[in-house]
Point group: C2
Chain length 187, copies 2
């Protein structure tokens, strides 16, 4: 899959449309495009909840009490070219990415997915820009530094910037291709 | 990964423990074993629900009204040897597997996962036995016959019987290995 290089007119439209659009919507849009165009199957996982009470009516069941559970994995997963893909998306207002955004369970899960040769990453929205930082790069940061947040310079140097394609503002699958290429070169 | 051949003493224990144990528990047990022993990461997806009302307390959020959504994908997914795995588990009391157990959306999803080179199947519990029937075999059945259920003979002939290993009554990952081997031979 090759994408044409961006042009200025398009870039302008993108930043306009982008204003105020939530990160989750951008990813859902991309996922819908990938599904409809037979590129990949990636879904947002259902929110994990604990069900306490269910009322059974004649025709339907209604949940009357439930609570949100802490997620121990990442929010999105699916398949691309046979490979397992999993990621999360986080927005930060700071000039760095606070590691408090990733729970200890999630960090453990990231390690695990890497061990099983899955492709795992975080999409980081920082100052109107979007980067993919792989699980490997997150772990090598947490292993090397005792810092509570990842500086933007580390993200820019070690991450992949996500660009847009047509109406797909966050065309992250191109980055997944680069990650897979790097993986195959290594093996 | 090679497993020792079964012995009679063990088989006896298995069928005893098996009594009354729900299919979902058996799969959760296997998945926990695979996770703990670094074999695979497979989770049951959270039940998809639609949230209608949420009450915000000082310290917590409680869902006060929600409903169950119809699943359009399969219940379990994850990663094994880098490959995307997705499946569902169904019990049938009949001598055949009613295709009404799989919704039109799910069948469409199965086709899709196959197109993206994922490994997709149904675990069928029929008369105390457990079989894996791949998405490919389900589709070739629905494409060839106008029947409303898959006869047990077709399942036995085209499926893989799941055997047990130690305390893992449904050691389905061995079948996934066979499916992957067959895939690699084909390509």
């Amino acid at each position: 899959m090759r994408y044409p290089s961006s042009n200025k007119t398009y870039q302008k439209k993108v930043s306009h449309a982008n204003r105020g659009m939530a990160l989750e919507e951008l990813i859902n849009d991309a996922n819908k495009y990938y599904l409809d165009n037979n590129i990949a199957i990636i879904y947002k996982k259902s929110t994990p909840i604990g069900i306490v009470n269910v009322k059974n009516d004649k025709s339907s069941k209604t949940i009357t009490k439930a609570y949100f559970k802490e997620p121990s994995t990442l929010d999105y997963n699916g398949v691309y070219k046979g490979r397992y893909i999993e990621f999360d998306a986080k927005k930060t207002e700071n000039k760095s990415f606070p590691l408090a955004n990733i729970s200890a369970h999630q960090l453990e899960h990231i390690k695990n997915v890497i061990n099983h040769q899955g492709v795992v990453f975080i999409i980081i929205n920082i100052n109107q820009e979007y980067y993919v930082l792989t699980g490997e790069k997150i772990l090598s940061f947490t292993n090397s530094y005792q810092r509570k947040s990842i500086p933007i310079d580390y993200i820019k140097k070690n991450g992949y910037k996500i660009t847009s394609y047509r109406n797909i503002l966050l065309n992250y699958i191109v980055v997944v291709d680069e990650i897979l290429e790097a993986l195959y070169e290594k093996n």
